[in-house]
């Protein structure tokens, strides 16, 4: 009997999940203490610290962990190098902590530069691992192409981020770092997060819904629209073209999101199991929530065409990405993937020889449900607070999101410390 599915050892994957969970807690803690700052401009030390904790510590770290787990499954081959995965974790993990601290105290000297350098090293290690795993594998797969392209965009984002950090003190770019912020941010948001979540989601969502639906044609269209939109955006930005032209990439990305929503809806309708669990419900909610940042983005472009960008709309736009759909899909997918990893660790060797708990029983569904409610109400409250400039709504929202992060971590640690309960 040969291995039918290749998996990466939990020792590689679990540390990424732990780091991400703690980063989420730190980010919501900073959000709670600094909620009032969301009434002003977005280019502030604490907001930069929160954004990078969410984007790198929370979003990127968990996606890196999940990618190391998923890539061998997608490619039907082993991960190219476990050592590179550990290197990626170590470099990125230390780098993020340094960078966030540097932003928080706004020290753009050695802490920010070392942080950026380490993050770039970690991302390169990941990129090499993805490329080599694909080169070594037996078959081609559209989801792997999504992952490879997204990893390339991530490397581009962190390289641009590193240049922006150096530009604070060395003036290596023609304009100030603030000028390039939206370029750096959108390569990361669209090229890394959106592309990767769609690619991986197109495999995981039907799989966890127990749906046989698949459509490579739709997925290739999404791939073209997202990448086409991003490349168009970069071109328009660098040519400093008129604001109205930004509607072209917005339309492309909107098309990609709509198609992805259509793909998920088809998968949902063709599911085999009627019951849909709470983890999948919040993951599907994340897909719907992808539309929200687009609404704020269009508002930003419209104000940009008339006067100057409305900072509240810019803040709401960023918030609905990092604390919105990205967080929603991570909250849902963590409790679809991590229980299986832990179940495999604890029960794999003796599976089938007695009654074992199912993966879903390794964490508390009650805690999960309370966490989901805190997340939804907290998110709505904070966004409303930004839009109407209401400090109390933001504070309440931040408190609920902090509670959500605490409950998330409590459930993750419950999973990690699960002991054999075989009957």
């Amino acid at each position: 009997m040969s291995d039918v599915v290749y998996t990466t050892t939990h020792r590689v994957v679990v540390p990424f999940y732990v780091y991400a969970g703690l980063a989420f807690l730190v980010a919501t803690g900073m959000l709670f203490t600094g909620a009032a700052e969301f009434s002003g401009h977005y280019f502030q030390p604490h907001i930069l610290a929160i954004t990078h904790t969410m984007a790198l510590g929370w979003g990127t770290m968990i996606i890196l962990g999940a990618s190391h787990q998923l890539l061998p499954v997608l490619m039907e081959g082993e991960l190219y190098s476990v050592k590179l995965a550990y290197l990626s974790y170590t470099f990125t993990g230390i780098g993020i902590a340094l960078l966030v601290w540097a932003f928080y105290i706004f020290h753009m000297g050695w802490p920010a530069k070392c942080g950026a350098l380490l993050i770039n090293a970690g991302v390169i290690a990941f990129f090499v691992n993805v490329v080599m795993s694909i080169v070594k594998s037996k078959k081609e797969n559209i989801q792997a192409i999504f992952m490879l392209t997204a990893a390339g965009w991530l490397a581009f984002t962190t390289l641009a981020g590193g240049l922006l950090i150096c530009n604070f003190t060395e003036n290596i770019l023609p304009d100030g770092s603030l000028h390039y912020l939206s370029l750096h941010a959108h390569i990361g948001i669209v090229g890394w997060f959106l592309l990767l979540v769609m690619g991986v989601g197109s495999r995981l969502i039907p799989m966890f819904l127990i749906s046989k639906y698949d459509s490579p044609k739709i997925l290739w269209s999404i791939y073209g629209l997202i990448n086409g939109g991003l490349i168009t955006f970069i071109f328009i930005f660098l040519r400093e073209a008129v604001s109205v032209l930004y509607m072209i990439p917005v339309l492309c990305v909107t098309g990609g999101i709509v198609l992805f929503g259509f793909f998920c809806r088809k998968a949902y309708r063709q599911r085999i199991r009627r019951q849909v669990d709470e983890e999948m419900k919040i993951s599907l909610l994340a897909v719907v929530m992808m539309v929200l940042p687009l609404v704020f983005l269009i508002a930003v472009i419209v104000t940009l065409m008339t006067i100057s960008a409305d900072v509240h709309m810019v803040l709401a736009y960023g918030f609905t990405i990092f604390f919105g759909w990205l967080t929603a899909i991570i909250l849902g997918m963590t409790f679809k993937t991590l229980p299986f990893i832990i179940w495999n660790r604890v029960y794999h060797a003796r599976a089938g020889t007695g009654a074992t708990p199912v993966p879903k029983e390794l964490f508390s569904s009650r805690l999960f449900n309370i966490m989901a409610v805190c997340f939804i109400i907290g998110f709505i409250s904070f966004v409303a607070g930004i839009v109407i400039s209401n400090g109390i709504a933001m504070k309440v929202g931040a408190l609920l999101l902090l509670l959500c992060a605490f409950l998330y971590n409590a459930n993750v640690f419950k999973l990690l410390f699960h002991k054999d309960r075989m009957l």
Binding site: M1, S2, D3, I210, W343, R350, A351, G352, T353
Partner: protein, 104 residues
């Protein structure tokens, strides 16, 4: 297509204790077992099975569970499992009991 010898039926009954951890349905009612034969003289059990998806990260665990369960029920027997994705598993392969379970 399952070879329905008496011994094979017994072995299949044993496999009703092996569950797909995500769905909670046993592998027999899921229709994952394509063929099963028990060679009493050679003390060998041959299983031809599939998985609901080629990308299932729990695939190896399900296959190992089948092997572990048969080793437990048939000590001294050699268990040979072959995994195939031809034909591809489809929901029509789920038994009537399984369909009822999933529609709850």
């Amino acid at each position: 297509m399952i070879a329905l010898t008496e011994k094979a039926i017994e072995a299949l009954a044993a496999l009703r204790w092996v569950f797909d951890p995500e769905i909670g349905l046993n592998v027999v009612d899921m229709g994952l077992i394509y063929e099963l034969s028990v060679e009493e003289d050679a003390k060998k059990i041959l299983v031809l099975m599939t998985l609901s998806t080629q990308y299932c990260p729990m695939g190896q665990s399900i296959v190992d569970s089948v092997k572990n369960r048969l080793e437990l029920s048939y000590p001294g027997y050699e268990i040979e499992i072959t995994v195939t994705f031809e034909p591809t598993w489809s929901m029509e392969m789920i038994s009537a009991e399984g369909q009822e379970f999933l529609n709850r």
